[in-house]
């Protein structure tokens, strides 16, 4: 999985970077690559590439990075996995390319030599890479369509610095750690910082599915080479006006799932499975066991606070593990372990997030058992319509479309409702925005997923910081942008629209980013077979016009044997951490800032709002010495 770092002093006036600067950025991500490190410096010293390696495929030195082509002019540093590397390697060899080893990095390098930027269309996997082309003195940065692997950059107008983790850029001091009000506002609205913003004013995320060229005159605006909205829209267009018969749909889905799982099991190291009592990870275990042809290790976390509650995963997970013959490892997280985990996870957090602790804990368990690769069911709800938002967002939009047409009604209703003690009445404070936002796809999604609403930010951030943050962030524009350009673009079905919103925002900015930093902090590569564009294109035509719930049922039925019916029919669960209890208990000292905010301290406040404020106010996920506290 690894970490990459680089510096390109592109402008003629830019002094060459200090000899060891890129090594410092690289080594700020040492946990991402315990198996090796490398450095490449161009002859004129103006381009430096660094890499830390977690060796999963071709662990031999033939896979070391940065890797240079036989001509010595093109260099690559790559993070992630290319799951169709065997087919791509065969195509390259058939065309006369001689490959030295079997690493996917070497395949990427030769694909670039053969196809240039056009290589991106051929890739199936999770990746972020940097390719330096010494022939044209240009640098190419690129990311996978879903944004499973991150890539951040800081451009000062003369020199570009980039790295897999945002903090690595600011930790070394070369890039300012000054906060971006847009990043702060985005975090409080959504629980994670939406790209291209980051917590830091001078650091940007290369958007998912984008590529960016940097030449002697600086970076070009990133070009989107793959957009989920387009993929979903194309897949919808393939769907017949009536859905295929259920039997045929089930069979096609099983084949597509097996294909994705088969690709995601490509590894020269053993692969485990993160297992909850839910459908996604359970079916994944069944499918992976079938493809692997042998028993797998499965990992579940148990919390005493949840004992006997519906959120306790262990009993269901144990039954699933037994059903598929897995070696099941259950790790109990008591108070002392929780405290240690919180300390370490909060220290490892790349950017502020209200999630990721569950991944950190289960990855920690996997690493304790010697595993470096694990499958996760992340993405199943976005792909298969598992979230309540698949019903609520379209329904509200239908009810409230008329209200949205009446000028001023929404804002007036919001201001009136805000004066009511909604929370004391057991109603979310977000409800004040129902008439204002609910009639629109972007607004409806923001209502469904948001922690705080935009009008709440002045009280949290201060008036000026909130105004500046929202003015730069433009949350509705940002949300709307993922649906595609213009009324004729993007998905047309309710399912497609919500799938794109959830996949391009919540999945990308929260779940996948958290899986990256949390897994890599434990030295575990988290693979997500349900987050795969090939699978997406196969599944959307089946589900776009099918009754909601079909996807999850067909996933449960795809494993052999099918997932236990009781678990398949159970309410949605999945790696729940007892954060509400921890905020009042074990995390009381570390994450207690919410107590000083009357609105958050009041009974009935959702734990996620408390946690988001605590992380913001405590200055977590920032380099030492940089306080994130209340501004303005």
């Amino acid at each position: 999985m690894c970490g990459l770092a680089g510096i390109f002093a592109y402008h003629p006036a830019a002094p060459p970077p200090a000899p060891l600067e890129v090594a410092r950025i690289r080594d700020a991500m040492a946990r991402r690559g315990p198996h090796g490190q490398g450095l490449h410096v161009a002859d004129d010293g103006r381009l430096q590439l660094g890499h830390r390696r977690l060796a999963i495929v071709d662990p031999s030195p033939a896979g070391d990075q940065p890797m240079t082509d036989p001509g010595g002019t093109v260099v690559i540093a790559h993070v992630g996995e290319i799951y169709n590397r065997r087919r791509l390697a065969a195509e390259l060899e058939a065309a006369g390319t001689r490959l030295r080893g079997s690493s996917d990095t070497e395949v990427l390098l030769h694909l670039y030599l053969a196809h240039g930027e056009g290589m991106l269309e051929r890739l199936r996997g999770m990746f972020a890479f940097a390719i330096w082309d010494g022939r044209s003195q240009r640098l190419l940065l690129a990311r996978d369509p879903y944004g499973i692997k991150p890539l951040y950059y800081a451009d000062d107008g003369w020199t570009l610095r980039f790295a897999t983790q945002a903090r690595a850029l600011v930790d070394t001091g070369a890039v300012s750690a000054a906060r971006d009000p847009a990043g702060q506002a985005g975090f409080l609205l959504l629980g994670s910082v939406p790209e291209p913003f980051t917590l830091y004013r001078d650091v940007r995320a290369l958007p998912a599915g984008s590529a960016m060229w940097v030449d002697r005159h600086g970076p070009r605006p990133p070009r989107t080479w793959s957009r989920l909205a387009d993929a979903v829209a194309e897949a919808e267009a393939l769907a017949a006006s009536a859905p295929p018969p259920a039997e045929e749909a089930r069979a096609r889905m099983r084949e597509a799932l097996l294909d994705s799982v088969r690709h995601h099991l490509e590894s020269d190291r053993p692969v485990g499975v993160f297992l909850s009592a839910g459908v996604d990870s359970g079916a994944l275990l069944g499918l992976a066991t079938e493809v692997a042809g042998h028993s797998l290790d499965a990992f579940t976390v148990r919390f005493p606070e949840l004992a006997g509650a519906p959120e306790d995963e262990t009993a269901g997970a144990a039954r699933t593990a037994a059903r598929y013959g897995a070696r099941h490892h259950v790790v109990e997280i008591g108070a002392s372990q929780a405290g240690r985990a919180l300390d370490q996870a909060l220290a490892a957090m790349d950017q502020p997030t209200i999630d990721g602790l569950n991944t950190w804990l289960v990855a920690d368990a996997a690493r304790d058992h010697g595993l470096h690769v694990a499958l996760s069911g992340t993405g199943g709800d976005e792909l298969l319509g598992g979230y309540p938002a698949f019903r609520s967002v379209p329904a509200r939009r239908r009810w409230l479309a008329l209200a949205a047409l009446i000028p001023g009604l929404g804002v007036t209703a919001r201001e009136l409702l805000r004066r009511l003690p909604l929370q004391r009445l057991g109603v979310s404070p977000k409800a004040a925005g129902l008439a204002e936002l609910g009639g629109d796809w972007a607004g409806g999604w923001l209502l469904a997923r948001g922690l705080f609403m935009p009008w709440e930010l002045p009280a949290l951030l201060g008036r000026e910081a909130a105004r500046e943050g929202l003015d730069r962030l433009r949350p509705l524009t940002l949300v709307r942008s993922v649906l595609g350009a213009g009324p004729d673009g993007g998905p047309r079905t309710d399912f497609g629209r919500v799938a794109v919103l959830e996949s391009s925002l919540y999945l990308r900015h929260q779940l996948l980013r958290d899986a990256d930093w949390a897994g890599m902090d434990r030295g575990v590569e988290v693979r997500v077979p349900l987050v795969d564009p090939v699978l997406l294109r196969a599944v959307v035509p089946l589900l776009a016009r099918a009754p909601l719930g079909s996807g999850k049922r067909w996933l449960a039925a795809a494993a052999r044997p099918a997932l236990e019916p009781a678990l398949a029919a159970a309410p949605k669960t999945g790696f729940t951490v007892p954060m509400a209890a921890w905020l009042a208990g074990v995390a009381r000292d570390r994450l207690g800032a919410w107590r000083s905010m009357p609105e958050l301290a009041r009974p009935g406040c959702h734990w996620a709002r408390r946690l988001a404020w605590a992380i913001h106010a405590e200055g977590l996920a920032a380099p030492p010495g940089v306080a994130l506290g209340r501004a303005g």
């Binding site: 003369w158 935009p454 930010l457 500046e468 433009r474 009357p598």
Partner: protein
């Protein structure tokens, strides 16, 4: 190769409209930067013609593929002159000042707009109309990294659209022997000479003449028999003369007044050290001129001076408290022509006319290869935030 680059490479030479505050023939640093840009456009194979409409400068200038109209009659006259251009079709519009941006956008029709930014005009948050107008610009060039960084702090424009285009320097400025007759005429005698070149504008006191005058007594007390040569004219001169008198160094401070470009090199060559401890330079082109003439250079580690001195590679960048010891050290060290030559070569490699011309061509490619951004509107969900009194959450 990206589609945008293909488009740029295949584009016909562009008809460019330059909407400037200071056109050819105007005075000052911004005018010099604009002149260098216009000359680069004129020489570029990517440009078919350049039409300049300016508020100040020489009216009626015509050259190969370039013509200039300077509008009389203040703002109204300028608006009329621009209005006359609306009937013509341009492929690109260069806007020379943020204040002129609405006019440039209005006259641009569908042509992409390139905005030039310099210093303080782009450093502080502007009114909302300016911020919104900025988002409609295809390309912004900032004269320095500092100006770029400050502009991005208050604007929502995509950072990749904001590039840095440093100024260039005339190759005519070269090292040479000091003109003893000029030194005598200025009353410098055999004293070591500290030099600053810059306008003496009450609005530009950040340039730091006061700091140099304030350093003189300590330098003299330390045994340095030095004089301070001030080149430049402006409304702040009388105050600076009073400051020199108050500090007891009036006879060591020489105000040379305005010096024509043709005599500038002679003045630089008199200097043992060029010093401009400015806190507010957008860039500080005089630093480049000083290096070109072989001067040792001292500036403050602040704002655009970092760019002009290439983070200290071309001269000393010091904190304010270190000004006296740094000047003392420079005055103590013997002149080193070899180091001066290497610095001049390094300066020209970074900021020379060839580099500037290549950058201008690259900006033209970028300008024509990338679509102008669509403006986005304020969002109802936060409309009013910042105007309404914040309410506590309780």
């Amino acid at each position: 190769m990206m589609a945008t680059q293909d488009l740029a490479a295949s584009a016909d030479p562009a008809r460019v409209l330059a909407v400037l505050s200071d056109g050819l023939g105007a005075g000052g640093g911004i005018a010099r930067y604009g002149t260098d840009l216009l000359r680069a456009l004129q020489a570029s194979e990517r440009v078919a013609s350049t039409r300049v409409v300016a508020r100040h400068g020489a009216d009626g200038v015509r050259g190969r593929r370039l013509s200039q109209r300077v509008a009389a009659g203040g703002r109204a006259g300028f608006a009329l002159a621009l209005g006359a251009e609306r009937g013509r079709r341009y492929d690109a519009v260069v806007c020379g000042h943020l204040n002129l941006l609405p006019a440039a956008l209005a006259v641009s029709r569908d042509a992409p707009v390139w905005l030039l930014t310099y210093g303080i005009e782009a450093w502080r948050p502007r009114r909302r109309w300016a911020a919104r107008a900025l988002e409609r610009v295809a390309l912004v060039t900032a004269i320095s990294r500092d100006t770029r960084r400050r502009l991005l702090q208050w604007s929502a424009i995509a950072p990749e659209r904001v590039r840095v285009l440093p100024p260039t320097v005339s190759p005519d400025l070269t090292p040479g022997p000091a003109d003893s007759r000029l030194a005598a005429a200025l009353g410098l005698g055999r004293r070591r000479v500290l030099l600053t070149v810059g306008r003496l504008d009450p609005a530009e006191r950040y340039k730091g003449h006061d700091r140099v005058i304030g350093a003189l007594p300590a330098l003299v007390a330390a045994g340095h028999d030095c004089a301070y040569l001030v080149v430049g004219e402006g409304g702040d001169r009388a105050r600076l003369e009073a400051v020199a008198r108050a500090a007891g160094v009036a006879e060591r401070v020489v105000f040379a007044g305005h010096v024509d470009d043709g005599r500038l090199a002679d003045h630089y060559r008199l200097a043992d050290v060029f010093v401009m401890p400015s806190t507010g330079e957008g860039f500080g082109i005089v630093f480049l001129e000083a290096v070109a003439c072989g001067c040792r250079v001292v500036g403050l580690d602040a704002a655009g001076a970092r760019d002009a001195l290439r983070d200290g590679a071309l001269g000393a960048l010091v904190a304010g408290d270190d000004l006296v010891p740094t000047l003392a050290a420079v005055l103590t060290a013997p002149p080193d022509p070899e180091t001066a030559r290497r610095r001049r070569d390094a300066m020209l490699a970074a900021f020379g006319p060839a580099v500037f011309a290549a950058e201008v061509d690259a900006m033209l490619d970028r300008l024509r290869g990338e679509a102008a951004p669509s403006p986005t509107r304020p969002e109802p969900a936060h409309r009013g935030v910042g105007i309404r009194r914040p309410e506590p959450m309780s």
